[in-house]
């Protein structure tokens, strides 16, 4: 941590969870305010209404099923995206030919709205779970490959030289040097990849799903059932926060060696 004044010094001793709490309370206050303001109350169901929407018995079970199935889709799509992005990013960084052939297409596709390529995915892989996972895979892959590729390009040349001198072949250099040296970029990729997975959920579940959080949000939106829409958004947001905590945990484990100026 930076050196700071007295007050900030004192404040920096407040434990993290207190800040989280303050942040949450502030959020709730804004929310209640929005729910009470006539202009925005139409889209902002009050917290109470949402709780009611949640505990409506008949929905309770559905919601858990929806969460389960959507989590599966998100994690599967993300996992495949990650596993594919790492070697592709590496090959792009390493082999000029590969990069020249692949890069334009990655750049082209990453700008296309997911909603626009859904028909194509259905035509290609059908309407089963595979279609949903594929949509999420594409979205996460594109985000991750861009950031991991930058990471691969940024690896300190001297470390690669050192590894070569010690007898490392390309595979070893990749796994033992490029990957650990790119961790900060991989973390950006993972964070944005997970976010992309969740924001694409609605689009993914438009490929012929009858359950899932995205579907729930979308169809409730069609009927202007705002408590359920907000409920869905909050659940997606909370899933995102949980993902973030996991990423943070991994980050602490993976970057303990790093010299950084942030506490």
């Amino acid at each position: 941590m930076r050196k700071q004044g007295k007050l900030t010094d004192l404040m920096s001793h407040v434990p993290n969870w207190v800040w989280l709490l303050i942040s949450l309370v502030m959020g709730f206050m804004v929310w209640q305010l929005l729910a009470d303001t006539p202009k925005t109350s139409i889209v902002f169901a009050s917290p109470k209404e949402i709780v009611l929407a949640f505990i409506k018995e008949e929905k309770l079970h559905t919601i858990w099923t929806n969460i389960g199935i959507s989590l599966f889709r998100v994690l599967a799509g993300f996992a495949i995206g990650f596993v594919v992005a790492i070697p592709i990013a590496f090959l792009m960084g390493w082999y000029k030919i590969f990069r020249n052939l692949v890069e334009p297409w990655i750049q082209f596709i990453r700008n296309i709205p997911p909603i626009a390529y859904i028909p194509l995915i259905i035509a290609g892989v059908g309407v089963g779970e595979r279609a949903k996972v594929t949509v999420i895979f594409i979205a996460t892959f594109l985000v991750m490959v861009v950031s991991i590729y930058q990471g691969v390009r940024n690896v300190d040349e001297t470390l690669i030289k050192a590894a070569k001198i010690l007898g490392a072949n390309n595979r070893v250099i990749f796994l033992k040097v490029v990957v650990p040296a790119s961790i900060p970029f991989i973390l950006v990729g993972v964070r944005l990849g997970l976010a992309a997975a969740l924001t694409t959920l609605v689009a993914a579940e438009m490929t012929g799903a009858s359950s899932g959080l995205g579907m729930m949000v979308w169809s409730a939106g069609q009927y202007f059932d705002m408590p359920v829409v907000l409920l869905g958004i909050i659940i997606i947001g909370i899933i995102g926060l949980i993902f973030e905590e996991i990423v943070k945990f991994l980050e602490r484990r993976l970057t303990g060696w790093q010299e950084t100026h942030v506490a």
Binding site: L159, K164, I165, L166, G167, A168, V177, G256, W257
Partner: protein, 267 residues
């Protein structure tokens, strides 16, 4: 052991053939090396001295196979150098430790690639941790080390893989006088035992004379070989050797020679 080099069949281990290196920067080209020619014989210990920026590190990188010469060639065992090879080990001027590995893991890095048994790896790692006095810091990360400690890790890491040719770029530069003396003795002892071919860059003329069979003096940029001085002091050499008349004579000669180069840089 400390045999007279003349009694051995001497052949060129490393042949540097008319090497030129030009760097194309944003502000025109820099000729780092031009027409560099010399051989390193099998089992020979060569030290290189020369003014800052004269191309010593560049030459080492070319021998290591990390850079390609713009012109000319380098041969190791009569084979042209194309990329790196496990037979050539390097201690880098700027350490190049893997920051995400502990001291122990840094030293083990090369060993693991040799498919050695774990107990073998442990034994070797321990030996070199001892040599550089870093047992206590085996589980520390590079960021937790002082400058000199980092350099010692880099030395241990290069030694551990036991290459046939050792290329060292000011390996003792960041060390205090005592560690330096200690590691010089260590290096001398090892070399006298194993006669590993060594290419050693230093800016300390004393160090060059105490270690080398021949000292290569490089001229100011563009780097050329100005003179190669034979150090006809028999091994085993110790720190006491530094007090002998021969040593002091050589020192004066080399120093004077290098100083001219230095004045040339100052114009």
């Amino acid at each position: 052991m400390a045999g007279n080099p003349c009694s051995m069949k001497v052949r060129a281990k490393v042949k540097i053939d008319n090497v030129k290196k030009v760097f194309a920067g944003r502000n025109g080209e820099t000729v780092a090396l031009n027409g560099v020619n010399f051989n390193i014989e099998e089992n020979e210990f060569i030290c290189v001295v020369g003014p800052s920026g004269c191309g010593k590190s560049t030459l080492l990188n070319i021998i290591a196979g990390l850079e390609e010469p713009t012109e000319g060639k380098v041969y190791v065992d009569d084979k042209e150098v194309k990329g790196t090879g496990a037979e050539r080990g390097v201690v880098f001027q700027q350490y190049a430790l893997f920051p995400w590995l502990t001291v122990r893991k840094n030293i083990e890095f090369g060993l693991k690639l040799k498919n050695l048994r774990q107990d073998e790896i442990d034994r070797i790692t321990k030996r070199y941790l001892d040599m550089v006095d870093l047992k206590e810091f085996a589980e520390s990360y590079p960021k937790e080390l002082s400058g000199g400690m980092k350099q010692r890790v880099a030395i241990a890491r290069a030694y551990a893989v036991n290459p046939k040719v050792l290329l060292m770029d000011e390996p003792f530069g960041a060390l205090d006088a005592q560690s330096r003396t200690q590691l010089q003795s260590e290096l001398l002892k090892t070399w006298e035992e194993e006669r590993k071919t060594c290419f050693f860059i230093t800016h300390d003329v004393d160090e060059a004379i105490i270690l080398a069979q021949r000292v290569v003096i490089m001229s100011a940029r563009p780097g050329r070989v100005k003179e190669v001085v034979d150090v006809d002091i028999t091994y085993p050499r110790t720190q006491e050797t530094k007090m002998t008349k021969k040593f002091l004579e050589l020192k004066r000669y080399i120093w004077g020679n290098v100083y001219q180069e230095y004045l040339a840089v100052r114009k």
